[in-house]
Symmetry: C2
Subunit: 140 residues, 2 copies
DNA sequence: TTACATGCAAATACTTTGCATATAA
DNA sequence: TTATATGCAAAGTATTTGCATGTAA
């Protein structure tokens, strides 16, 4: 699996890259370099710069998607064929993917109105997931 | 004008805060701390940490809105009553405000489907503005 | 007068880079 | 063998903080 992903991108298939890819698959949520390093360490010790370099390389090869959030950190996730948006809980950080994307139509309209050649967009909702929402209410 | 904004927020009305607020009004586009410092310097020299502290204070007081972009930098703009989104040109950085926001309806739907209590969202389109789009085409 | 604002330098957080060594192909 | 990957330490960039001094109210 991971070997193929790497080979297809003309990258050497190293154990460290495989571990990082595996972690991103298993966790199935966007993670920071720091988180990935912490998770990888017990499995296979590696330097932080290796993590950063790997994430950059994989992002350039379009294997990963990098998204910088309001906390100023870069979050990485496997690039899936279908692009999607997500709900991020302010309290527990839980992420719920949103399947609908109502923006294609809007993009069309905007291109025509503004002459802007739109190549992409980022959209993220914030709020409280059901559990945290409950907790929040209980505390009051 | 600026004095009132500051007084209303129970903040001391200093010349430096006024200059920063004025710059944000005049430029009418989101700016980084670095940009603001460079613009303020010739008018009224001030330390970078003053700029950062001022921006943080004004953001806490809801006078400014902070938005961290994909470049990892925080952009500040005056908080207007109406929330809006924008088009950002990848080449020249030009910003075009988008008046429509099609997300309220979607938020409703999502709240019901997921149980998430949505409190906000961030949306930004990227692409090329008409001028840069032309330049880009010409070069090919 | 006094609480808050500012300058300055040092510290922090996240990320990148140069160079020597190690390893997949 | 050879181009690429990695470790390590140092550097870079955006931002914050502690402390002494300055100033609006």
């Amino acid at each position: 699996m991971e070997q193929n992903i790497l080979k297809n991108a003309a990258l050497k298939s190293t154990k460290k890259r495989q571990v990082l890819l595996l972690l991103l698959q298993k966790q199935a949520r966007p993670m920071t370099a720091e988180e990935l390093h912490a998770l990888a360490e017990p499995i296979l010790p590696m330097n932080v710069s290796t993590v950063y370099r790997t994430l950059n390389t994989l992002t350039e090869k379009k294997i990963l998607i990098r998204s910088v959030r309001q906390d100023g950190k870069a979050y990485y996730s496997l690039a899936k064929k279908d692009h999607s948006h997500r709900l991020v809980c302010d309290l527990c950080g839980k992420v719920i993917p949103v399947d609908t994307c109502p923006l294609s139509e809007l993009e069309e309209t905007l291109q025509q109105k503004t002459g802007f050649r739109i190549t992409g967009h980022s959209l993220e909702f914030t709020g409280l997931c059901p559990e945290c929402s409950k907790k929040d209410t209980d505390e009051k």
